[in-house]
């Protein structure tokens, strides 16, 4: 998977070496995780979005999104996106990022903990991806008295109720009760709950686009190999038409996610265009995830829903990721309200401005 991005190339090499989906799927335990994480960390990828003066790699947003695209292509089941997002959040507030896996919150709409005047943070955060394995938490909080703050917390400061996503990855409820952060800084203007969701939405969109590319590969390859009625099923028009639809969904996802990532990466300050792009990406990629996973499973048949086959590593993460940082419906209502408020005559100019 060649691209013109040396940061993403580095990620690809590590993922190929340590996180091959077939190997991971065959692994009987989690022993692959530690060396894989170490390699990602040593390459600076986990702190890609942290400035060099805050202990990070200082990669651009675009490079980081390209890394997440790769992570999606490998159905990576490590908190890389989460740690990167946490790093981004800390960096925005000028807080140095620690080593080790982090979780970033809120990942669900309408859930902002509160930072009291004493600097302690309280609140319940549901559906936090990789909350349990995180060594630190980066949390956006609403400040008592107004404004927002970013808090870095040691995991021990939180009560974490472990859960799992439909992919089997950690999806946890984090409860903060007067938790004392390691650091707490005022969030810059514009960094509110929606801004965190937006960044998370684009990250997940890139991961999903990568996973969709891979299931298109898997299904296409399988169709060329699997024989039924004395010829490869790829020769059946019904299979061809299904795979063409899968290609269409994948293309829409790649285009929407890539465009949103580019928009976020190049916007000096977030604006309505960035919002349109991010919302549209999470909606359209989420729709493609549902449709695409269904088509891939239909093409692969029985083999595709065994544990043994690698397909489920991708499809289950597509089903999981579309729910994080606002699902399609959440963003659609938000986007629809904006469009309606701007009015009919502004719709085309808004689209054409992108």
């Amino acid at each position: 998977m060649p691209h013109d991005n040396i940061v993403a190339d580095a990620a690809t090499r590590i993922l190929q070496d340590y996180c091959d989906p077939q190997d991971v799927n065959r692994a009987r335990d989690a022993s692959w995780q530690e060396p894989a994480w170490r390699a990602l960390e040593e390459a600076g990828l986990t702190v890609a979005w942290v400035g060099e003066d805050h202990g990070g790699a200082g990669a651009g947003l675009a490079d980081g999104f390209a890394v997440l695209h790769e992570a999606g292509r490998f159905a990576l089941a490590l908190p890389l996106a989460e740690t990167m997002l946490a790093g981004w959040l800390l960096e925005r507030a000028g807080i140095s990022a620690p080593q080790g896996p982090m979780a970033c919150a809120p990942a669900r709409a309408g859930e902002l903990p509160v930072a009291g005047k004493d600097g302690r943070v309280s609140g319940r955060l549901r559906a936090v991806p990789f909350g349990k394995p995180a060594r630190h938490l980066a949390v956006l909080a609403r400040r008592e008295g107004g404004g927002h703050a970013v808090a870095l917390l040691d995991a021990s400061a939180a009560r974490v109720a472990a859960g799992t996503s439909i992919a089997g990855d950690p999806l946890d409820t984090v409860t903060l009760e007067n938790a004392r952060p390691l650091e707490l800084n005022t969030a810059p203007a514009g960094l509110d709950g929606d801004a965190v969701l937006l960044m998370g939405a684009v990250a997940r969109s890139m991961q999903m686009a990568g996973a969709l590319e891979r299931i298109l590969d898997l299904a296409t390859t399988y169709a060329g190999e699997r024989v039924a009625f004395e010829r490869p099923i790829a020769k059946f028009q019904a299979v061809q038409q299904n795979l063409a639809r899968l290609a269409g969904e994948t293309a829409a996802a790649v285009a929407a996610a890539g465009s949103a990532a580019d928009a976020v990466a190049t916007a000096h300050v977030p604006h309505e265009g960035t919002f349109l792009e991010a919302a549209a990406a999470k909606i359209r990629v989420g729709e493609a995830a549902g449709e695409g996973a269904a088509i891939a499973h239909q093409v692969l048949g029985a083999i595709g829903f065994t544990q043994e086959h690698v397909l489920h590593r991708f499809t289950r993460r597509l089903w999981a990721w579309r729910d994080d940082f606002g699902n399609e419906t959440f963003w659609a209502v938000k986007l629809g309200k904006l469009v309606a408020a701007r009015g009919a005559d502004e719709l085309w100019p808004m689209l054409a401005s992108r």
């Binding site: 296409t220 269409g248 659609a332 309606a340 054409a352």
Partner: protein
């Protein structure tokens, strides 16, 4: 193969945005002047010599063609902006659009010098309407089954046979026709067809209307009876049309007109649901906007590749497949979403007229210029399945 699907986040360069402003100003003036009516459903089909001449005078036809043939040597991306703004405005481009999109590029590539020097500048002026003579009573999706025959004669060819579903033929000055000059061979059933430039004034050509269920007259039957085509109206290789058929298709397939055909319904729906729609209405609008945004970003991406000299055949087919399905389903979605709009909304009559026209138009969007099934076959071939 699939990971080769390329949809980079192409952005239109600044000169495009300047051009867009100019186009919008032009359209606003023409609308004001009453040259056309943006709210008249189906108006995009309108044939307006006056309007096309003005567009030609602005330099917005043949934008990417060489100046020596009347073109303007501007980029595909600039042409893209003009196309999408005209489309969204329901501007009456019927006279020049086919010539600009498809026929001109064919002439540029395969026409004799005399033909190019004669016809292309007139296309650029907005004076010349083209039709495409491909389908026949016995050949629709399967173009290579064409039977209309061109027989060699002194200084040219005599054509006999019938084309059908020929859009514009009743207006057209020229047609690009696909005629059989030899029988197919055993090895290659696509062999034996030749493209011709057909002057529609040629004696022996009769155009009969085929009315659509919308009541519109767009399709025609075109009958050839010993119609004479001079030798220099042959386009490209005799018997070799099959080699020429695909290269133009990428931008025929991926343009903004491939997902904006019924777009007019969407702003009207937004107007009808008002500034504060309920959750149901907001979700519906939000999803539709996300989908059309994604399509436009795919389409612009393909335009960028064309500008860079690439031939993104599969990507273009995908844009048309996903785009035509979207524009086909849009009226049904809009109908559902409008179900609880206030009866007395100011734009109800406009919305209902547009919705009706879009509903009647929708079926043909996944047929014309390559059916869904054909497009998906092309995509499947691109994936290495066939």
């Amino acid at each position: 193969m699939s990971s080769a699907l390329q949809f980079d986040p192409m952005r239109l360069p600044p000169e495009c945005e300047a051009l867009r402003k100019e186009v919008r100003a032009f359209l606003a003036r023409e609308l004001e002047a009453g040259t056309y009516n943006a709210n008249e459903a189906g108006n995009d089909q309108a044939y307006s010599p006056e309007f096309s001449r003005k567009v030609g005078a602005k330099g917005w036809i043949g934008m990417t063609w060489p100046k020596k043939y009347g073109g303007h040597e501007r980029s595909f991306l600039e042409r893209y902006v003009v196309t999408e703004e005209f489309r969204v405005a329901n501007a009456p481009v019927r006279l020049h659009f086919v010539a600009d999109r498809q026929s001109g590029p064919v002439l540029l590539r395969y026409g004799s010098e005399r033909v190019k020097a004669d016809v292309l500048p007139r296309i650029c002026k907005g004076e010349v309407c083209f039709a495409i003579g491909m389908s026949e009573p016995g050949s629709g999706s399967d173009l290579f089954a064409a039977k209309t025959k061109a027989t060699k004669t002194d200084g040219g060819w005599l054509v006999n046979g019938t084309k059908v579903w020929t859009s514009n033929a009743h207006h057209a000055h020229y047609m690009i026709g696909l005629f059989r000059t030899s029988p197919p061979t055993k090895e290659n059933r696509r062999h034996g067809l030749t493209q011709f430039l057909v002057d529609m004034k040629t004696p022996g050509i009769t155009v009969n209307p085929i009315y659509q269920m919308t009541g519109q007259h767009d399709f025609n039957e075109v009958v050839f009876e010993d119609a004479f085509m001079p030798d220099d109206h042959v386009l490209g290789e005799v018997d070799g049309a099959w080699k020429q058929a695909t290269s133009e298709l990428a931008y025929e397939r991926s343009g903004p007109e491939r997902f904006l055909e019924t777009f007019y319904v969407l702003p009207e729906l937004v107007r009808m649901l008002g500034p504060e729609p309920d959750t149901r209405g907001a979700e519906g609008i939000g999803r539709l906007v996300a989908q059309v945004h994604a399509l436009r970003r795919m389409s612009v991406s393909v335009a960028g590749m064309l500008q860079a000299g690439k031939e993104p055949v599969v990507e273009a087919a995908i844009v048309k497949d996903v785009g035509t399905i979207w524009e086909q389903k849009l009226p049904a979605r809009a109908r559902d979403l409008a179900a609880f709009a206030e009866e007395e909304t100011a734009n109800r009559a406009t919305f209902e007229a547009q919705l009706r026209f879009a509903t009647l138009t929708a079926p043909k969007l996944t047929i014309q210029g390559g059916t869904t099934e054909i497009l998906r076959g092309i995509i499947a071939r691109g994936l290495g399945l066939r």
